[in-house]
C-alpha cells in the first residue's frame, strides 16, 4: 500500500491542518517538509480529507502548501538491547549523540537512531530449530550491564504460534543482524533481529495473568515505607505546591528504590534538575550491585522549554520502555515528573482543536487518559511463570497548590497511594514534606498494621491538641493532653523526618525501620510518671535527641548498640505502665 501525502492548509501554534489524499490512520506519524527539514508530527483528528496534526517541533517557517509525507506508522519506540543508561528526549532521540551532532542547541528536524547500530552483543540462543513460540517468548539472551537481556519474539507480530526455522549460533551480532527466522501457522516466514518498534500509546499485554500488587516496593524513606507504603506493580502520586520537594523526593527514590530498573521521565520540568541526575548518577554506585546507578537507569527528558507535543509523547515513551523490561521478568519503577505538565500539554492541544473545554479548560477526556496511563502499571505473571512489575509514581503540580484541581483529582481516583506534600511542613523545613495525616495508601506495608494505626492515631490526636493549644495556650491544656502532643511531636521528629543529605539517615533499610519502629512504638504506648509540663517537655526532648543521634549512626556499629541502651534506660527512667488498649498487639 502506498504511503499517503498531503499539503499544509493551516497553522496555529504547534498544530497544523493538512489536506491529504489516500488513507491515513489516527495517531499516524507524518513529516512536514520545510526546506530541507522534516518535522515529525502526529495525526490527532481526521475529518473528511483534512487532518489535524500536532507537530513535535517549533512551527516557525512552516507555510501553507508545504508537503506532508505520512509514514503509515504510529508513534513508536525502538526496543532492544542498549536502552539502559541512555538519556533520551521525548521521542527517543539520544541527547548526548544529538549534542555531538548539533552542538549546544536542539536543532529541529534531527532524529537519530535510539540504539547504537554498530555495537556487537554476545548472543546466546535459548531455543532450537523446531521449537514453538508465542509472542514475547525469548529467543535468546544478551548481557546488558547487570542483566540478562531477553531477545523476544517482537510484540508487534500478529498473535499466533511461531515455529523456529533457524536460530543464530552463540556469538556476537549487531542489533540489525538477523538472529532468527520463524514461521507462523500459515507458513509465512519472518526474519527477526534483536530490535523492533512498538507504538507507544498501546499497552503491552503479553502476559498470562495480572496479579494484585502485594510485595512492598522499598523506597528507604521511613515515612513512605512505614506509614504510606507503595507496592511493586502499584501506583502512587505525589502532589504538592512548588518548592515543597516533589523533585527531590523523586530523586531520592530513583537512587534508593529496591527495584531492578528505574526509568525517569522528566516531563516539562526544569533542565537543571535533569542535569544533576545526568551528571551525578554515573558517579553513584548502586549498593545492591556495586555498579554505577546509571546502569539500571533510563532518563527520558523533555524539559519545559522543549516542544509541548513531544512532552505528551514522553510519558508514553517511558511507560513503553518500562513494559518492555517487565516482559523480561524484571521489576521496573517509572517516575514521572510531572504529570501536570503532560496534562497541560493535552490541554494546549485540546484548545487548538477548539474542543469544548471541561474544568479549568482541561479536555473532557482528561480523566480517562490519566486512568489508562496509570493502568499500564501492574504486577504480572508472564507465560514462563516469572513475575515482572511496573510501578508508576507520578508527581502532580496543582495550580496554586490546591488539590481540588482536575489533574490531582483525576489522579487520586486511580492511584493506590497518595503522598500529599504540604506547604506548612516544607516551610518548617520538615522533610520529607509528605503530610502524614492527609495522605493515604491502600497497600500493605512491612510493619504491623495495628501498630501503625496506633501511631497514626497519636499523630492525629497530637495535632488536635496542638490546634487547641493555639487558642487556650499551654496554661489551659491538661498534662495528659500535653503528653499526647509531645508524643506526636516526638514521632514526627524522631521518625517521620529524615535528612536525605545524610549518608546514614538518607536511606534506611527495612530491617532497621522495623527495629527502630519497635522502640518508637514503646515510647508511644508508654504511660510515664511525669509531674508537670516542663518535666514532660524535657523528658521528650531528651528522648528525641537520643533517637536523632541513633538515626545518624550506622546500623551495625557499636554506637548503635550504645545509643539503644541509653534509649532503653531513658524509657525505664519514667516508665509506669503501657497503654492497656495497646496491650493486645504490642506484645510487651
Amino acid at each position: 500500500m502506498d504511503k499517503s501525502t498531503g499539503k499544509v492548509i493551516g497553522i496555529t501554534g504547534n498544530m497544523v491542518t493538512v489536506k491529504f489524499d489516500g488513507n491515513i490512520a489516527m495517531n499516524e506519524v507524518g513529516f512536514i517538509l520545510v526546506g530541507d527539514q522534516k518535522l515529525k508530527s502526529e495525526v490527532i483528528r481526521i475529518n473528511g480529507d483534512t487532518a489535524e496534526m500536532q507537530v513535535f517541533e517549533m512551527t516557525q517557517g512552516v507555510s501553507v502548501g508545504d508537503t506532508v509525507a505520512f509514514s503509515k506508522e504510529m508513534l513508536s519506540v525502538t526496543l532492544g538491547p542498549g536502552l539502559l543508561g541512555q538519556v533520551y528526549d521525548g521521542l527517543q532521540n539520544p541527547l548526548p549523540e544529538l549534542a555531538e551532532q548539533c552542538g549546544f542547541f536542539l536543532q529541529r528536524g534531527v532524529y537519530l537512531n535510539a540504539l547504537d547500530g554498530e555495537k556487537k552483543w554476545d548472543f546466546t540462543p535459548t531455543v532450537k530449530k523446531g521449537d514453538t513460540l508465542r509472542l514475547a517468548d525469548s529467543l535468546g539472551t544478551v548481557p546488558e550491564g547487570i542483566f540478562e537481556h531477553q531477545i523476544m519474539v517482537p510484540f508487534t507480530m500478529p498473535e499466533d504460534e511461531y515455529q523456529v526455522i533457524s536460530i543464530a549460533k552463540k556469538g556476537s551480532y549487531t542489533i540489525h543482524d538477523e538472529i532468527a527466522v520463524v514461521k507462523n501457522s500459515k507458513g509465512r516466514e519472518y526474519k527477526l533481529t534483536m530490535i523492533f518498534e512498538w507504538p507507544v500509546k498501546r499497552p503491552v499485554k503479553l502476559y498470562a495473568e495480572r496479579l494484585k500488587p502485594v510485595d512492598p516496593m522499598v523506597t528507604k524513606v521511613r515515612l513512605i515505607d512505614t506509614l504510606l507504603p507503595v507496592a511493586r506493580g502499584g501506583t502512587y502520586c505525589i502532589p504538592g505546591p512548588f518548592g515543597a520537594g516533589k523533585t527531590v523526593l523523586q530523586q531520592i527514590t530513583s537512587r534508593h528504590a529496591e527495584v531492578d530498573i528505574v526509568i525517569i521521565a522528566a516531563c516539562g520540568e526544569r533542565a537543571g534538575e535533569v542535569v544533576e541526575t545526568l551528571i551525578e548518577f554515573p558517579e553513584l554506585t548502586d549498593p545492591k550491585t556495586g555498579k554505577s546507578l546509571m546502569e539500571r537507569t533510563i532518563i527520558i527528558c523533555n524539559t519545559s522549554s522543549m516542544p509541548v507535543a513531544a512532552r505528551e509523547a514522553s510519558v508514553y515513551t517511558a511507560v513503553s520502555l518500562a513494559e518492555y523490561y517487565r516482559q523480561m521478568g524484571l521489576h521496573v519503577l517509572l517516575l514521572a515528573d510531572s504529570t501536570s505538565r503532560w496534562a497541560q500539554a493535552m490541554r494546549e492541544m485540546s484548545g487548538r482543536l477548539e474542543e469544548i473545554p471541561g474544568e479549568e479548560a482541561f479536555p473532557a477526556y482528561l480523566e480517562s487518559v490519566i486512568a489508562s496511563f496509570y493502568e499500564r502499571a501492574g504486577l504480572v505473571q508472564l507465560h514462563n511463570g516469572k513475575l515482572g512489575s511496573v510501578t508508576i509514581g507520578g508527581t502532580v503540580s496543582p495550580a496554586g497548590g490546591n488539590f481540588e484541581e482536575p489533574v490531582t483529582q483525576a489522579t487520586l481516583k486511580v492511584v493506590g497511594a497518595f503522598h500529599g506534600l504540604s506547604r506548612e511542613r516544607s516551610d518548617a523545613r520538615k522533610y520529607p514534606a509528605i503530610h502524614p495525616l492527609e495522605s493515604w495508601s491502600k497497600y500493605e506495608g512491612v510493619i504491623d498494621k495495628k501498630k501503625v494505626t496506633y501511631v497514626t492515631d497519636i499523630l492525629f490526636r497530637g495535632e488536635e491538641v496542638n490546634q487547641m493549644m493555639k487558642v487556650v495556650g499551654e496554661e489551659g491544656t491538661s498534662l495528659e493532653d500535653y503528653v499526647i502532643y509531645l508524643k506526636s511531636d516526638f514521632v514526627d521528629y524522631a521518625y517521620l523526618q529524615q535528612n536525605s543529605f545524610d549518608p546514614v539517615d538518607g536511606a534506611v533499610s527495612i530491617e532497621r525501620q522495623q527495629y527502630v519502629f519497635d522502640q518508637l512504638f514503646r515510647v508511644t504506648v508508654g504511660e510515664f510518671t511525669l509531674d508537670d509540663k516542663d518535666e514532660a517537655r524535657q523528658y521528650f526532648n531528651q528522648l528525641r535527641q537520643l533517637f536523632l543521634d541513633w538515626n545518624g549512626v550506622s546500623w551495625d556499629s557499636d554506637s548503635f548498640k550504645d545509643i539503644e541502651k541509653s534509649i532503653q534506660d531513658k524509657i525505664e527512667e519514667k516508665w509506669n505502665s503501657s497503654d492497656p488498649h495497646a496491650k493486645s498487639f504490642s506484645g510487651k
Binding site: 492548509i9 493551516g10 497553522i11 496555529t12 501554534g13 491542518t17 517549533m58 512551527t59 516557525q60 517557517g61 512552516v62 507555510s63 501553507v64 502548501g65 538519556v87 541527547l95 548526548p96 544529538l98 549534542a99 548539533c102 552542538g103 549546544f104 542547541f105 536542539l106 529541529r108 505546591p241 512548588f242 518548592g243 516539562g268 526544569r270 533542565a271 537543571g272 535533569v274 542535569v275 544533576e276 545526568l278 551528571i279 524539559t303 519545559s304 522549554s305 522543549m306 505538565r341 497541560q344 500539554a345 490541554r347 494546549e348 485540546s350 484548545g351 477548539e354 473545554p357 479549568e360 479548560a361 482541561f362 503540580s397 495550580a399 496554586g400 497548590g401 490546591n402 518548617a428 496554661e475
Partner: protein
C-alpha cells in the same frame, strides 16, 4: 520582490488578517497606515488567510492599509556595538543612535540540549545579606522577585545588577514605567556600568503587544554573548505585564482560556523564556532575574504560580524586605558549602530562631505570658530585622556572617543557638 497587500480582511484587537500566499508561520511584515509604520508577525495561517499581530496595535489601521511581508522572522542585530545602547521593544534605537543591521540573528531559537549544560557552581555576590547569606544567588540561576506593586523591586534589581560580578547586563523592560526606566538608566550611568549594559525597554505607554518581544530579544542577544564566553545577567521587569499581553492576544484570537483568562500554554510560554538561563559547557552563562508583581499579593495567582513551578526559587519582597520564609534559592546548596564553614549552619540556625521569634511575637499579641526565652527571642528578632533584613544593609558575605554571630552573641547564650559547639568556639565573638 516582496508582494504588497492592500486589503485587510479583518481587524480585531491588535490582530489583523489579510489574504496572502506563500507566507511562512512566524514571518515578519510591515504595516503602513496613516499613523506611521509598525512591524507585525504571523501568528496563524488558514488557507490563504493570514493573521498577524501588529506590534504597535491596530488602532487607526484602515482596511485599505498596506501590508508588506519581509519573508523572514523577527531578528535582532548582534555585535559589540550593542553595548551601552538603548532600544525599544521591537529593537529600534531609543537613544538617537544609529540603527544596527549587521549580523542579524533569529530570536526565540531552540532550547539548549540538557546534555550540554553543567551544574552551576559560582555564587553571584550581591552585598545583600538576605540574598548572600540566606538564599545565595548562583550563576545561571533563573529567579523571579515576587512582589506586590509598589514594592521597590526595580531598585533591588538595579542594585543587584550594579554589584553583581558579571561581564554584561541586559535589561529587558516590559511595560516599564517611564520613571523606572529613567531610574535604571541614571543608576547604571552613575555606577559606571552603562558601557557593559544593553537596554531593551518597552515602556508602559508603548503599545502592549510590543512588550511581547522583549524577553525573546533580550535572551537571544544574551545567548550569543554567553556562547562567546561572557557571563550575562538578564533583568526582566515586569514579567506579569508579559503574561498579561499574552492573555490579551489569546483572547483576541478566541483561544479557550484556562485559568482566570490566561491561555493554556502560559506555563510553556514562560518556561521557554526562563529556561534560557543556562551554564554552558565550556562557554559563558546566562542568569535571569525577573520581577513578577503578584496581583493582590496572591501567590496562587496563575502568573506567580506558574512562574514558581518553572524558576529555581524566588525572592519574596514584602514591606521593603526580602522575607526569609517565602524566599527560596534552589541552587544555594551548590555554593554555600564553599564560602565559609559556618555558612550553612548559621543560615539554618538564624532562620529557625527567627521562626521561633515569630511564634513568640504571635503569643505576645494574643496576650499569653512571656517567658525569659520569649523575651530573648524578641530582642533577637528585632536585631535580626534591623541589622540583617533591612535592604539598605550593604556588606560582603563574610562580614554578614560575622554580623550574624554578633547578633547571636548580644542576646543569646551559645547553647541556646542550636549551633554545633565547634563552630561556636571558632566564631563566637570574644568579650572585648
Amino acid at each position: 520582490m516582496r508582494k504588497v497587500y492592500t486589503k485587510i480582511e479583518s481587524i480585531s484587537g491588535s490582530v489583523i488578517t489579510v489574504r496572502a500566499e506563500g507566507i511562512k508561520n512566524g514571518d515578519l511584515a510591515v504595516v503602513t497606515s496613516a499613523h506611521g509604520t509598525s512591524l507585525a508577525n504571523v501568528i496563524r495561517l488558514k488557507h490563504d488567510l493570514v493573521s498577524l499581530q501588529v506590534f504597535a496595535g491596530a488602532r487607526g489601521i484602515s482596511t485599505g492599509d498596506e501590508v508588506r511581508f519581509l519573508g523572514k522572522p523577527m531578528q535582532v542585530s548582534f555585535s559589540d556595538n550593542l553595548l551601552g545602547r538603548i532600544f525599544d521593544g521591537s529593537g529600534k534605537p531609543r537613544d538617537n543612535g544609529p540603527v544596527l543591521e549587521e549580523n542579524m540573528i533569529d530570536i526565540g531559537g531552540p532550547s539548549v540540549n540538557p546534555a550540554m549544560r553543567i551544574i552551576p557552581t559560582n555564587m553571584i555576590r550581591t552585598g545583600i545579606p538576605m540574598i548572600d547569606v540566606f538564599n545565595s544567588l548562583v550563576e545561571s540561576q533563573k529567579l523571579p522577585i515576587f512582589s506586590v506593586s509598589g514594592e521597590p523591586y526595580n531598585q533591588l534589581l538595579a542594585r543587584i545588577a550594579l554589584q553583581a560580578e558579571v561581564d554584561l547586563i541586559i535589561l529587558g523592560g516590559i511595560g516599564l514605567k517611564y520613571d523606572d526606566y529613567l531610574y535604571f538608566k541614571e543608576t547604571l550611568e552613575e555606577g559606571g556600568a552603562m558601557s557593559r549594559t544593553i537596554f531593551f525597554v518597552h515602556t508602559a505607554s508603548d503599545p502592549t503587544v510590543e512588550g511581547l518581544l522583549v524577553p525573546d530579544i533580550s535572551l537571544a542577544v544574551a545567548e550569543q554573548f554567553a556562547l562567546a564566553g561572557k557571563k550575562v545577567l538578564v533583568l526582566l521587569t515586569d514579567m506579569t505585564n508579559f503574561a498579561d499581553a499574552m492573555k490579551e492576544i489569546a483572547i483576541t484570537m478566541e483561544q479557550v482560556p484556562s485559568n482566570r483568562g490566561y491561555p493554556g500554554d502560559l506555563y510553556s510560554q514562560l518556561a521557554s523564556r526562563y529556561e534560557k538561563a543556562v551554564d554552558f559547557k565550556d562557554a559563558g552563562s546566562i542568569t535571569v532575574l525577573a520581577a513578577t508583581t503578584m496581583p493582590g499579593d496572591d501567590v496562587t495567582h496563575p502568573i506567580p504560580d506558574n512562574t514558581g513551578y518553572i524558576t529555581e526559587g524566588q525572592y519574596y519582597l514584602k514591606n521593603g524586605r526580602i522575607e526569609p520564609f517565602g524566599s527560596l534559592s534552589r541552587l544555594k546548596q551548590q555554593v554555600n558549602d564553599k564560602s565559609r564553614d559556618d555558612h550553612r549552619a548559621l543560615m539554618d540556625g538564624m532562620i529557625k530562631l527567627y521562626a521561633s521569634f515569630n511564634e513568640s511575637q504571635e503569643k505576645k499579641s494574643m496576650g499569653f505570658r512571656m517567658s525569659e526565652w520569649d523575651k530573648k527571642l524578641l530582642t533577637y528578632g528585632e536585631l535580626f530585622e534591623s541589622k540583617m533584613m533591612d535592604l539598605s544593609v550593604n556588606i560582603p558575605l563574610e562580614q554578614a556572617l560575622d554580623l550574624g554571630w554578633e547578633i547571636l552573641s548580644t542576646c543569646l547564650e551559645p547553647d541556646e543557638t542550636g549551633l554545633r559547639s565547634e563552630l561556636v568556639k571558632k566564631y563566637w565573638p570574644k568579650e572585648a
